[in-house]
């Protein structure tokens, strides 16, 4: 089950300003609280945060809404957050704050087959993620075969991707985060 949250709607409901812009820390904190409440009530493993109706997103708000939400959900097993509806300038703000915290998130981009990773992800983890997304499911051995690494190397990469909540992992197996 996937929970889709329209971020602009949360903004309107929580802050009650006549604007679509996600700016200021206090606004971001209020919106994040609203999102966390919706996630807790929804009980779904995957949450899709839809930014398509959001206007401007500044760095402070990106930090409050996205980075802090990810830092909190990282401590919960089987909770995944994926972003969608981002415009180029949203990418920049979110990428900047996630790099600062050394975390990453997947973002669905129209016309791209697999979701894109935003934030801090070493090049070899990007390669492993791309290969794992193409395989859709598998284990360290199948990933190692796919990209020509040792099984240990692939297993390390899978563990890192799972800790970053970019893949679902369970007892040595992985699968893409379900988005449909």
């Amino acid at each position: 089950m996937i929970l889709t949250i329209m971020v602009e709607r949360v903004l309107r409901e929580t802050v009650q300003v006549p604007y679509r812009d996600l700016v200021t820390r206090s606004t971001g904190a209020a919106v994040r609280t609203g999102i966390e409440r919706a996630i807790a009530e929804g009980g779904c493993a995957t949450t899709l945060l839809d930014f398509s109706e959001v206007g401007l997103l500044d760095f402070s708000c990106a930090d409050e809404v996205v980075a802090k939400l990810l830092l909190r959900t990282q401590t919960e097993d089987d909770r995944y957050v994926v972003l969608s509806g981002l415009r180029e300038e949203h990418f920049e703000a979110i990428d900047h704050v996630l790099n600062h915290h050394q975390i990453a998130v997947l973002a669905k981009v129209e016309a791209e087959a697999a979701p894109r990773a935003l934030g801090r992800l070493a090049p070899e983890l990007q390669d492993a993620l791309a290969a794992a997304q193409q395989l859709e499911t598998g284990d360290a051995e199948s990933l190692a075969d796919a990209i020509g690494w040792t099984v240990e190397h692939a297993a390390d990469a899978l563990q890192s991707l799972a800790l970053l909540r970019l893949l679902c992992a369970d007892q040595g197996h992985f699968r893409r985060i379900p988005l449909t």
């Binding site: 812009d21 997103l57 300038e89």
Partner: protein
């Protein structure tokens, strides 16, 4: 007895120290008279600086200062159109004829003098400026369309510093004009000023020990602007100024922040400012200026 605070004839970030010197001189218990009769021009930095001085005196419960308006009709009209007199009347006893001009749309300013006291004010500022900024930055300054978004983000972060750190309200204004002496090009200037606690006081509890004897206004500015530290222990803090710097690097812009007796600048190649100035005349709070120049083929 009154003490006279001279308003520089051409009042911008360069002449601000002259204003600060005059403001800091004399017996603070004496009534102040801000003499703007000789003023020929003021940048947004000068306008918000004067309002900050007035606000500081009001918050210190000093006798309401006097303010003599510029002798020049044109200057008075311009200051009136920027919204300066509307707010100046809250802090000063104004002497001289103030034009009954509406604060109106004008090609030369993107945002009239606007108070910033709370998060809602930042929303209003950002909401109001985006369309006009797009026209100005892409049409007149030749920046790419995406520069507009970064501009609004930089403005938002600059205003938030007041809400988050100053401990009092402040002011913002955004104007466009030609930097004849320094650059010979059109620029857009964001000026944000508050009369609050300043960087040194704000960061003292978390940073002073680390700097030891060096601690002061300059060290505090260095910690915030160069090292990206914040008074909050939250590791996500300090990204606002980092975001502004990133934006300005891309568009060849300049950032300067004055607080207390020091001023730090991120200086682009077109300017000859110094990165750090110390032992300046004291002025309360913090004053931030962002300058974005028209792009040339050299800038790419």
């Amino acid at each position: 007895m009154t003490r006279v605070v001279e308003v520089p004839a051409s009042f911008d970030d360069k002449s601000f120290d002259q204003f600060a010197q005059s403001f800091a001189s004399g017996d603070p218990a004496q009534r102040a008279l801000f003499d703007a009769r000789g003023a020929q021009w003021a940048s947004p930095y000068g306008l918000v600086g004067m309002l900050t001085a007035g606000q500081v005196l009001k918050e210190q419960r000093r006798e309401r200062p006097l303010f003599t308006v510029p002798s020049s009709d044109d200057v008075r009209r311009y200051w009136a159109r920027t919204g300066f007199f509307r707010y100046a009347a809250e802090f000063f006893e104004i002497h001289g004829k103030v034009p009954r001009t509406k604060v109106e749309d004008d090609a030369d300013y993107l945002l009239p003098v606007t108070p910033v006291r709370a998060s809602e004010d930042v929303h209003a500022v950002v909401g109001a400026i985006q369309e006009r900024a797009a026209r100005m930055l892409t049409g007149e300054l030749g920046l790419e369309a995406k520069a507009t978004i970064g501009f609004a983000m930089a403005l938002s972060e600059a205003c938030q510093n007041i809400v988050e750190h100053a401990g009092t309200g402040g002011w913002v204004a955004v104007h466009a004009y030609t930097f004849r002496k320094r650059l010979g090009r059109r620029v857009v200037v964001i000026a944000v000023s508050d009369g609050g606690v300043g960087f040194s006081h704000s960061l003292e509890s978390t940073q002073a020990r680390r700097f030891g004897d060096r601690w002061g206004d300059a060290a505090a500015l260095e910690a915030a602007v160069i090292q990206g530290v914040s008074r909050f222990r939250d590791p996500g803090r300090g990204q606002g100024l980092a975001g502004i710097k990133r934006y300005l690097t891309r568009w060849n812009g300049k950032l300067s922040i004055r607080s207390g007796t020091a001023r730090i600048a991120i200086v682009p190649p077109w300017d000859d400012d110094v990165p750090m100035s110390e032992d300046l005349p004291f002025f309360p709070g913090s004053q931030l200026q962002v300058v974005i120049p028209a792009q040339t083929e050299i800038d790419g």
